[in-house]
């Protein structure tokens, strides 16, 4: 299945005013194969690091994850909000449905079969578009970040036209990850208890914690709401399909048929999904990334304080003072570096968040209006015919 992704997002445009170099990344094409998706990553850049000004490579999901993880593990980037990794493409549900349809082909009329097949294919396409968009957003965020865009791994990712030979994590590594996460969250709790002197960060901590939880809840509830909406839309569609058999007055039949073809309710549900549900899902992940940043900073703070204590102890005992001093200096430096960039990152996060919500909420309202007006027109047209046709 071929699909040409369209970069709708302004996040795709990046102009680095400082170095006067342009770096623009998008996913120009994508191919869905049996159990993987191949993304064509297209780059336009005037940066001197690259051999050409414009080039493309093919990447798979695992390679995106590798890139993301390399950022997370890089100590240099501890003070930045790492753009959240795109979720794994999940066509399982859709594939299952298509398969079931294929199996049940004999038991329904050709018309029904074609119709259902079209619907399922449209669903598949929608999921496909979404996963492409999410991978693209990740790349664009990296390309927009003043520091991350210079990352070597990122450049390799963009330019190296061979397979990166990044295999997915095997069981052992996944288990290691699991334990790491457990340790991290336990640590996170400890570290969160440390009161921060800095008001800004103290406020951010409290805010982010609550915000993250509420976004999680809103995201789950919006998903449920939209799923119900899709179910109702399917029913409405079926009803209009049945009603469109109205031969005694072909005008009315055509009207009902029009409802059926337009599938307005289904589109409303799809748009709500795009503008509302996806927005919330994205900021769920971003707020988690912001929380991670705060965690790293708190961790650094704790290390710094511990290093201070160790230094005092060493001075008191007059043993290993130099070592303790070096260690303390390192921790101090690390902490201050993180604090500095973290502040800016969090401010940027807020700006981005507000802009994204504004854009999506406005678009949501506009789409809802457009569909409601379209619906209204169809309905009134239908009523006119029915009432006039005594």
């Amino acid at each position: 299945m071929f699909f040409n992704a369209v970069s709708q997002d302004p996040r795709a445009v990046n102009v680095d005013l400082q170095t006067d170099a342009m770096l623009q990344v998008d996913i120009s094409d994508a191919l869905s194969e049996r159990d993987k998706v191949k993304f064509t990553v297209h780059t336009k850049s005037t940066l001197p690091n690259f051999k050409q000004n414009e080039f493309s490579v093919v990447r798979q999901h695992e390679e995106f994850i590798w890139l993301h993880d390399s950022f997370v593990e890089n100590e240099e980037y501890a003070g930045y909000i790492i753009p959240p990794a795109p979720p794994r493409p999940d066509f399982d549900a859709s594939r299952e449905k298509l398969q079931k349809l294929g199996e049940g082909e004999g038991s329904m009329t050709k018309e029904e079969f074609t119709k259902m097949k079209q619907e399922l294919e449209a669903e598949y396409l929608a999921i496909f578009k979404k996963t492409v968009a999410m991978h693209e957003v990740f790349l664009c965020r990296v390309a927009a970040h003043p520091v991350l865009r210079k990352d070597l791994n990122f450049h390799v990712f963009l330019e190296y036209n061979q397979d990166l030979s990044v295999r997915g994590k095997n069981k052992k590594e996944k288990l290691e990850d699991f334990f790491k996460n457990v340790v991290k969250s336990a640590d996170g709790v400890l570290v969160a208890g440390v009161k921060d002197v800095d008001d800004f960060f103290e406020h951010e901590k409290t805010f982010l914690l609550e915000y993250h939880n509420r976004v999680k809840d809103a995201s789950a509830k919006s998903d449920r709401m939209i799923r119900s909406h899709k179910n109702a839309a399917d029913d409405i569609n079926r009803i209009f399909a049945l009603l469109s058999y109205y031969p005694s007055n072909s005008n009315v039949g055509t009207m009902f048929g029009g409802f059926f073809k337009q599938k307005i309710e289904a589109r409303i549900a799809a748009d709500e999904d795009l503008k509302l549900a996806d927005l919330l899902k994205y900021y769920l992940r971003e707020s988690q990334a912001a929380k991670d940043l705060l965690y790293r900073r708190s961790r650094a703070l704790v290390d710094y304080e511990n290093a201070n204590k160790a230094l005092d102890k060493a001075r008191a005992k007059n043993r290993d003072v130099l070592q303790a001093e070096t260690s303390q200096q390192l921790c101090c430096h690390k902490f201050e570096k993180i604090s500095e960039s973290a502040k800016q990152e969090l401010i940027d996060f807020k700006t981005r968040r507000v802009a994204a919500f504004r854009k999506n909420l406005v678009e949501l309202a506009e789409l809802e209006l457009k569909h409601a007006k379209g619906n209204l027109q169809l309905l009134q047209g239908c009523l006119g015919i029915l009432k006039g046709n005594t």
Binding site: F207, V362, L379
Partner: protein, 513 residues
Amino acid sequence: MADTARDAPPEQTDFHELEDGEELFPEPATTQESQPASLAAEDISTNSNGPKQDSLFDDDPEDLFAEATEEVSLDSPERDVLLSDGPSPAITPITPPTSVITPRIGHTHDDMFTHSSFDEIEEEEGGDSFDIHISVSDPEKVGDGMNAYMAYKVTTKTSISLFKRNEFAVKRRFSDFLGLHSKLASKYLHIGYIVPPAPEKSIVGMTKVKVGKEDQSSNEFVEKRRSALERYLMRTVKHPILLKDPDVLQFLESSELPRAVSTQALSSAGLLRMVNKAADAVNKMTIKMNESDAWFEEKQQHFENLDVQLRKLHTSVESLVCHRKELSVNTAQFAKSAAMLGNSEDHTALSRALSQLAEVEEKIDQLHQDQANADFYLFSELLGDYVRLLTAVKGVFDHRMKTWQKWQDSQMLLQKKREAEAKLQFTNKPDKLQQAKDEIKEEIEELEGKVQQGERDFEQISKTIRKEVSRFEKERVKDFKTIIIKYLESLVQTQQQLIKYWEAFLPEAKAIS
């Protein structure tokens, strides 16, 4: 509902007048289903007072012409007619025997009409126009525990001279309605009248009400039943013959009604009914009728197709009602969640916008609820009614087959007896011969009478069915059209509200900076 009280003497039910304050269940404001009955100028003769075989049909000749429909050819079964009249050579013409009135040309049905018009004597009743309106209201729980039941107030407003007064009310319980239907069915179904079926029993629903659970679902159940009873009565009285039936009149007018015990599901009458139904089903499979009239075959096919379509539609609408209710619940939950999110958002303008979004979603939730109710009461219930009505229609066709079978059986028997008589001529026992000959002659005479009667019955039921079917189709088209218009209007309202809400929200969203 299950009247589990099985004591022998039918109790005189005490209906006491309901004072306004006593309403246990708030009566919802909707009475959308009870349309003022207005069949165009159908006259009612006071003579037909029961299932007389040669009952007099009254048709205003003007109406016939207005209603004559074009024959629609059925191209393929699926394209069948949900909302149109379907193939129906209209109504039996009544004018002078020689002219054929129906405007279509080249249809063999016309022969049936011309020949049958000899038999019809039309009588016109001067004065009365069809004007009767029945409402079922004020459901009131009477009694306690498992012996409790709901009493409904049945109010009739009418100007028809059949009734003693213009406006009157009585109290009835569900089993009374079932009893009425049972009586009408036994009187009229087998001669070809489409008797509207009564609403279905629901043991679960009623038990909840009896037990005293005054929650949402038992309120909904009572309302659903009240509405169904009202529609049932209206359909029944719209039928010109049924309206004049003394049982119907008694049901509407008399303050006390003997309890209909035989409607209990587990009574002996109930069991007998079930056995009969099973026997019927078997018999139906074995009757192979020589259909000499293509009209009946076509109509039966038409009703089969209609049945399939209606059931499909009904299922879809029921599914929609269910999903919309779900949607309403989930929207409300999302609204709350969005409000919380707005609270924790520290950018003021965004926070405000999110709160506004939450409000919009709350209002939309209410819209969904109202829409779900409309879906249900307007659309789903109507479809359910028609699915059940179609069963009655099919039943009537089956009765015609049975009548035909009876006629054929008598004929075959007559044939045999005649053969036996012929054989008798050639026996050689003179003493027994005369006696036997006389016996057979008697039997033959009797059988000849039966055969003639059978043929008359068959023709009569065929004629009745034609009339009934055309009346049914007319009503159906009208009903559906009215309901669909109402439903679309409710949808229009919803969309208009949605536009209002989102238009109010848009500037808030744009104000985020």
